[in-house]
Chain length 135, copies 2
DNA sequence: GCTTGACCTCAAGTGCACTTGAAGTGGCAC
DNA sequence: GTGCCACTTCAAGTGCACTTGAGGTCAAGC
């Protein structure tokens, strides 16, 4: 599979071309040439974009993600950083789980106002107690 | 417990006073009076702030959160909306869980570059396949 | 009664992640 | 060979969630 032009990458990745140009400018992806003015990318850019999307979803900033790529374009993720991010993510997941249960309960709860429901209040209190600072 | 001044609310909630003023301006919280220039808040504002923080952590925008409060200041959360948000949250949680496992694996994986590890690639691919649009 | 300092207002600024707009270019279909 | 139009650049704009700065005020402590 040879080089893909930007429209093709946009189509396959779901990212608008403007975002691809923006990411290139930020050094997150690299084009391998041009056909006329048109940028050409290697197919592996799709995997890279998936990785970027994943990182974003996990709450990494673009800058943090950029630091995960070495100059040669390979992924160079610091393992200790990964471990700590996994930990952080774990905390987030636990918090969101509590919240999900809170929402589910609130949706089903018969109390006229949610704040009158002891369970809801307990959930709010529990969540706020451990809320340090979010993303 | 009588009214708390803004400094007290800031101290107890962990939000800077500037954020409290900003939230008041947006209609997310309400002060009940002044001592001189100084805003006074009812203690219940702390619960409200906890609810706001919770909503933010769940990915609601301030505008969405504002819509959850009725004019009388009571919580008036649409139950169907809560259910759908719980669903959404559930998807996020599952995605983050996959990601967390990915990070854990990557941290432990002996492959020289993460992209050479079949498991890591599989995780990236799996996560990206279902990634529609994030927060 | 005067100073002090934490609050006040209002406008502007910040950081992030993009998006949009104007003006230009070049490969491809005809 | 010429017209189209999807691409190009570069600067400016957008939306969100706040934060900062300048200039002002007032309750409390001395």
């Amino acid at each position: 599979m040879p080089a893909l032009d930007i429209a093709e990458v946009a189509r396959r990745s779901g990212e608008p071309a403007s975002t691809l140009r923006f990411y290139e400018e930020k050094g997150l992806i690299a084009s391998v040439g041009r056909r006329g003015l048109r940028r050409l990318f290697e197919p592996s850019v799709l995997e890279r974009l998936a990785l970027i999307a994943l990182g974003r979803a996990a709450g990494f900033s673009l800058q943090e993600i950029a630091r995960m790529f070495a100059a040669d374009g390979r992924v160079r993720i610091d393992r200790a950083m990964l471990r700590s991010k996994a930990e952080e993510l774990d905390k987030t997941i636990r918090k969101l789980s509590v919240l999900r249960e809170g929402l589910r309960h609130a949706a089903a709860c018969p109390a006229p106002s949610h704040m009158e429901c002891p369970k809801f209040r307990r959930i709010v209190r529990a969540a706020s107690t451990h809320a340090k600072r979010r993303r």
